[in-house]
Every structure is written in C-alpha cells, then in structure tokens.
C-alpha cells in the first residue's frame, strides 16, 4: 500500500481531483492510498508518503517539501497546471506510476 499525498491551498478543487484519481486507481487495480491535505497539515505527514504531489497554486513550496524529506526516497512533484485544471487523473497517475512504479 503506497500513499500518494496531495497538497494544496485549501482543498476545494483538489478534493475533486482526489476523487477522480481514486476512481482511476481503482480501475487500474493499483494498491495506492490517495489523500489530500491542506498546506499547514501536509508537512506533518510527509514521512508516510511514497510521493508528494503539490497543487500548482503552491508550487513555490516545493523546495520546503524537498528539505522536509531530505535523504529519503520520496519524490516531490508539482502537478502541471493544465493537468490540474483539466482534472486529468489518468495522466497524473501515469506520471506517478513512472516515478514510484
């Protein structure tokens, strides 16, 4: 069971994306747990994550997250704006699978 941690500003639109990603993951029979957290909580949960995805609104925090997971094999990625806006769960999951297999 790998955990994908999504992090965004407040969580309105990200909650929609998580829903779509969970559906997509289920249809691919992936053993992943996808959860979204707002910025101020996410930092406390980086250790549990296999990969951290940041919403484009908070892309500037990438460096902070990379520092938080330094020395561990936890990739930190900013979701591309277009994929995020179009809620392209399939494409985002493809990228995640390429990263963490």
């Amino acid at each position: 069971m790998k955990k994908i941690l999504l992090c965004c500003n407040a969580g309105m639109s990200t909650s929609l994306l998580v829903q779509k990603m969970q559906k997509e993951a289920a249809s691919r029979d992936l053993d992943v747990d996808i959860e979204a957290r707002p910025l101020n909580e996410a930092m406390d949960h980086v250790d549990e994550a296999a990969i951290i995805l940041l919403g484009p609104q908070i892309g500037y925090t990438k460096a902070d997250f990379e520092r938080a997971v330094e020395g561990r094999d936890i990739p930190v990625e900013v979701i591309p704006m277009i994929e995020y806006g179009r809620m392209n769960a399939a494409k985002i999951l493809d990228d995640v699978q390429a990263k963490i297999g």
Binding site: N9, A10, M12, S13, L16, L39, N40, P56, Q57, I58, G59, Y60, T61, M81, I82, Y84, G85, R86, M87
Partner: protein
C-alpha cells in the same frame, strides 16, 4: 522576454510568501473556524427582520406584538451566542491556529492564554446610562454611571474583533516565546508521572505572560486618559486601516493586484485573504449586528466582504462563470469547450480552479485582461449601486460558495433587486469576455499547431 518572466515569477513568489506568513495565515485560519457561526447569525437576523415581521409584524399576516417579541427572542439569543462574543471566539481560535502553524506542542494552552489576555485588557467597569426611573436621573441630561461585574459587547462583540486579532497574535507569541525558555521549566524527579511535569511546564509561562498583560492594562488605566488597549487599537490602528481598505478605489487596486496574481497561477486569496478580507469581514459583521438591532447601515459600511464575494467574484475570481457562458455561446475550440463543460458545475458554486488552470487563464494574455477588469468593475458597480440606493446594503454574510441569484438576495436581507443586479452584471461580464475569448481561442490554436510541428519536426 525572459527577463519579464523572471520578474513575474519573483513577484508571484514574494506574494505567495506574504500570504503564507505565519501570523497572517493563522488569522485567516482562525476566521475560517468560526465562519459557520457568522453565517448562522446572518440567517437568524434574516428570520428576525424579514420572516417573523412578515408573519407577526404590525402590517404582517397575523399582527401580534407579543408573538413577534417571543419569536425574535430566538434570533436575539443566537446573535448573543455568535456576534456578541465574536471577539472572544476569534481571539481563542487565532491563538490555536498560530500555535498549530508554529508547530507549538500545546495549542490548547494558547487558546486559554489568548482569551484570558483579551479579558485582562478589557475595562473593569462598564458605563451604563442611568434609567429614567432612578433618583439620579435628570430630564434632558444623559448621565452614565460605572457598573462593575460586566463585560460589554462593545468589547466582546464585532466592535472588538480587530483588537481580538492583535491580542490573540500577541499573547500567543509571548506565551510560546516564554515557553521556549528552558530555565523556566520545573524539573520533576524520576518517578513523577510525565503528565504532572507537563502541567507545570505551562504554569510559569502562563503566569508570566498573563501577568505582563495585566501590567499593560494597569498602566493604561493609571495614566490620566484612563484608557485600555482595545480603545487605543481601535483609535490608532483600526480606524485608518479601515478607511484604507473600505475605500472603493483602494480596494479596486488591491483586488486587481490579487486577480493579476491569479493569472500567474497564485491564488488571489493568498494576498487578499490576509490583507483585506479580515477587515471587510469585520465591517460586514458590524452590519449584521446593526441589522439585527434594527438600525440603519452607515455609508462607511457599504463596502464589505459581500460586495466582493457576491458581485465581484461571480463563479470565482475574474467572474469566470461569464467566460464559460461566452464559450457555450460562441466557443469553437474543442479543448476549451471540454473544460468549460467540466467547470460549469464547480463554477456555479464559485469554485474555478479548473478554469484558471485548465482553460487556461494562467499566462493566457488575451484572457488576463477581462479577468482582472471584470472583478474591478464588479466592485465599482455594486458599491455605487448601494450608494445610490439601487440595492440594499449587504448585511448578511453568505458562504462564498453560495450560487449567484441566491447569494444576492441573501446578502442584502432579502432584496431581490440585488439578484437582478447579479444577473445584469453576469450579462455584462459575458459581453466583455466574448472578444477576448475569441482571441484566446486563436492563440491557443496557434500554440497547439506550433507544438505539433515541433513534435513532428
């Protein structure tokens, strides 16, 4: 060009960092936790002033002063439990959120400190007007007498919100700082349960920080002016700040900067949410309290949070609901039309990230113009519509996710003209978006073709 992009990136980065500054963020989080109470206060005011008077009022369906009085007691009680203690609630919540955002391990202690410090700084007597039945009463003269054993809603309610913010941040900061001093910790011998030690850990910092606030209160009382911190804050900080942020042109500039930021991908609330939303919300809550008491709304309070959320951000920042309508009417470019279809449902609830990032608005030069322009127009038009009396002033806080037409009527205490104004504004926004939408389609198509050529080339 590369220079300009680098500059914009830096601008976006700096703005985002301001918006995420820990104190400002805690203030925003603190407000968010008690938002439901303010919404409830608005609903209660609406019932008291519109629904109940419509049924039992002097010219109502079943006129009865008695029943009206009983019914309105319900709204009055709710107002007491929300608006009239809003400063106390906010102060505690800010203490909690600041502790959390600073990763302090005892946020509950910060709630205690913040609320307690606010009360420490309140005046110990309340000026009460002498009743006409009293022997002290003289006709034609208003005599007040100091009453002890009371807190006044002038300090615990909406009028005290601003100082609650400052005291909440200050008291929590002082407490966390003192707690960090190792030498003040009482060391327990081995064998004493750790929880006991923890209870002593907060003891000395609490005594010291509250004691210090008590000293401040004492000094302010002892000087000839006999004042208190809230009075000073209201006079010297809140009044000028309020004049600045509720000025229509000042607000247009601030919001235009915010929406422009959004066209670079940084959420507009990052800036607006911390710089102006707290004060605009305070003004709106003042209005709710006035409306509930049946008093007139002064013109200085016409510019408030509802003007922004209800009229200037329809369907989200930049009024993108209008862009979606424009796309349905005249859109020819398939990818944009697909996004529009998907984004319409969230858009009805004023959530528009799918449009911002997917349509996209971000770095889409033709659309950046109407995006910023529409929000500015919405502020100006709806504010002046209030000033000249076309619509009633906004008095009730509606959740920002409330769909248009409903939100206009609710915000103004049931004035349907506000809903009509919303529809007219939406039509105007759509007309403004149309030519820019066509230009955007052309440029998106060109970009797509170029990208294809690059792949084949």
């Amino acid at each position: 060009m590369a220079d300009a992009t680098g500059y914009l990136d830096r601008f976006a980065d700096v703005s985002a960092r301001i918006g995420n500054q820990v104190h400002l963020r805690s203030l925003r989080d603190g407000f968010a936790t008690i938002m439901p109470l303010f919404i409830l206060a608005g609903v209660a005011a609406l019932f008291n002033n519109v629904v109940f008077t419509w049924i039992w009022g002097p010219s109502g369906l079943m006129p009865s002063a008695d029943v009206l009085g009983w019914a309105q007691y319900w709204g009055g009680a709710l107002s007491n439990g929300t608006l009239n203690i809003s400063a106390i609630l906010l102060c505690g919540m800010i203490g909690y959120c600041l502790a959390q955002n600073k990763r302090f391990d005892n946020p509950i202690a910060c709630v205690v400190i913040a609320v307690s410090a606010l009360a420490v700084l309140m005046p110990q007597t309340v000026a009460a007007a002498v009743a006409p039945a009293s022997q002290l009463f003289e006709e034609g003269k208003s005599i007040t007498t100091p009453v002890s054993g009371a807190f006044t809603t002038g300090y615990t309610g909406t009028a005290g919100l601003f100082s609650a913010i400052i005291v909440g941040l200050l008291a929590t900061t002082v407490f966390i700082k003192i707690s960090g001093v190792d030498r003040l910790r009482i060391k327990m011998p081995e064998g004493v349960p750790p929880a006991v030690g923890k209870s002593f850990d907060v003891l000395i910092p609490m005594i010291l920080s509250l004691g210090a606030f008590g000293l401040v209160a004492m000094i302010l009382f002892a000087i000839p002016a006999h004042t208190d911190l809230t009075a000073i804050i209201n006079e010297f900080i809140q009044t000028p700040l309020r004049a600045l942020t509720t000025n229509v042109w000042g607000l247009v500039i601030i919001y235009s900067i915010g929406t422009f930021l959004f066209t670079l991908g940084i959420h507009q609330t990052t800036i607006n949410g911390v710089l102006v939303e707290p004060i605009l919300t305070i003004v709106l809550l003042n209005n709710t309290a006035l409306y509930n008491a049946g008093k007139a709304i002064p013109m200085a309070n016409f510019m408030n949070m509802d003007i922004i959320n209800v009229f200037a951000l329809m369907g989200g920042s930049g009024c993108t609901l209008a862009l979606l309508i424009a796309t349905f009417i005249m859109g020819r470019y398939r990818p944009s039309k697909e996004v529009a279809k998907m984004a319409v449902l969230p858009g009805l609830f004023n959530i528009n990230e799918p449009v911002i990032y997917g349509y996209p608005i971000v770095f889409n030069i033709p659309l950046m113009i109407p995006f910023v322009l529409n929000t500015a127009l919405g502020i100006v038009i709806s504010y002046f519509a209030t000033v000249i009396g076309l619509i009633s002033p906004c008095v009730i806080q509606v959740p920002w996710t409330c769909p248009i037409v409903f939100s206009g009527a609710l915000a103004t205490g049931g004035d349907l003209r506000a809903s009509v104004l919303q529809v007219l504004l939406l039509a105007l926004y759509t007309v403004i978006y149309l030519p820019f939408m066509k230009a955007s389609e052309k440029s998106l198509q060109k970009q797509a073709e170029l990208a294809e050529q690059a792949e084949q080339g």
